[in-house]
Symmetry: D2
Subunit: 140 residues, 4 copies
């Protein structure tokens, strides 16, 4: 298990739906930003600066999933603990655990690709992650 990042947030009125619980797409918003903060903490620069520093186009999400175990409601104070779960040659995976009152409420997962642009087609194309990025994501 690699680099870890934890943050707290409060569930807002506008995060919730007519059932009074968080509308599921909001959890993917929370996870997306947790990943941005994790990467910034691990790599020491904001996502936008990674592009210039490493000559990549971005770190697009290719796969995501979530299991919803317990509902969260307006005013709930939650904690999202994120960690780098696996590191491949040109991609990595992040696990997000969202706790509400110390109970695991949502378990999320992302797979992201270290992506440049193919010189010929102009399309996004995965490329090997630099050694220092791998080392930092491992948190060692």
């Amino acid at each position: 298990m690699g680099f870890q990042f934890t943050r707290k947030l409060t569930i807002e009125w506008g995060h919730c739906d007519p059932a009074g619980i968080v509308f599921n797409p909001r959890f993917f918003e929370f996870f997306d930003w947790s990943t941005a903060l994790l990467l910034q903490a691990a790599l020491g620069m904001a996502k936008r600066d990674l592009v210039a520093a490493y000559g990549i186009v971005g770190i697009p999400l290719v796969d995501t999933r979530a299991n919803f175990l317990a509902p969260s409601r307006v005013g709930d104070e939650i904690e999202i603990a994120s960690c780098v779960a696996t590191i491949g040659r040109s991609s990595f995976e992040i696990d997000h655990k969202l706790f509400n009152a110390n109970q695991l409420a949502v378990s999320g997962h992302e797979k992201r690709v270290w992506a440049g642009r193919d010189a010929q087609t102009g399309k996004l194309k995965s490329q090997p992650m630099p050694e220092d990025v791998v080392r930092k994501l491992k948190g060692v």
Copy 2:
């Protein structure tokens, strides 16, 4: 494979992020509403009326996932084809395929539970789906 429902929509400016592509949580918004429309078409009533008609509390999402295969951008006309993929005793699964210019761009999946309330604990609890609901979701 069971009941199917297809709809079209246009990607809006506000669906997209600074990379100029749809921000991933928006796809879960699209899928959530496609499921509501599929259920309404299959069962012949709006989601809110199901609650009264069948004595349930709701049909909460317990699992979801998506694979992102190609980006979508503002102004793109997309099609979402949804179908009931599997039907269990008290839950069912829906597959969503989002096409952009006839290319599969996002593949999504939801598992939802037919849920009542436990008389003793007051918590949500899965319960067997009525025969007519199963038959209608099968689309036969």
Copy 3:
């Protein structure tokens, strides 16, 4: 009163809050996209093409407001009628009227600026709208 554009949409589950009514920021999403569609219909090209065609940076929103007269709920079929209300030298205003069951439910208003970039400071700067744009926004 200038160019007019009307569209219909259905209120979705995810547009609504725990009170069961549309969460107010969603109306500004609706209006933003109605403006994009109105401009596309009036000027004959998508917002992103305006930038190239007219050498502008964008048409940023500088002022907006809304009055909420009646609530809208999931499943409601609404109509948004938008029109160019006033046209200045380098800005214009758009009125949005959102009807629910033929009743005016929200009245919205936007002021947008025709903006280029100041050659010296690099900042956005309003500039005179071309004659053909003015004529098309007037709808004459």
Copy 4:
């Protein structure tokens, strides 16, 4: 000028649009939640508890507006200073000032109504605010 409440937040990737700046409806999300926090701080209870404590149905927004003076971008640390601007018999107004790098970037305004339900029609109806609520909103 009445009760004041200030909070800080960071602009997230998902708050921004393809122009790289905050999509305007997000500011109304920010203001809505700032108002909830201001009321909670002023009245000493969460919005949902007000309903039971004062026999009201809610505090619906009837009018809102915003002026956009400078753009905000991903990673920007902003501060929102909110205050009760005027207090009527059955409504009150809140001003929101959003600062980015100590510069006023958005100026927002809300009018909210203290609302019960009309015994005959069942519709929302403004009602006089209790004396202690008025006093607390005045911040005296």
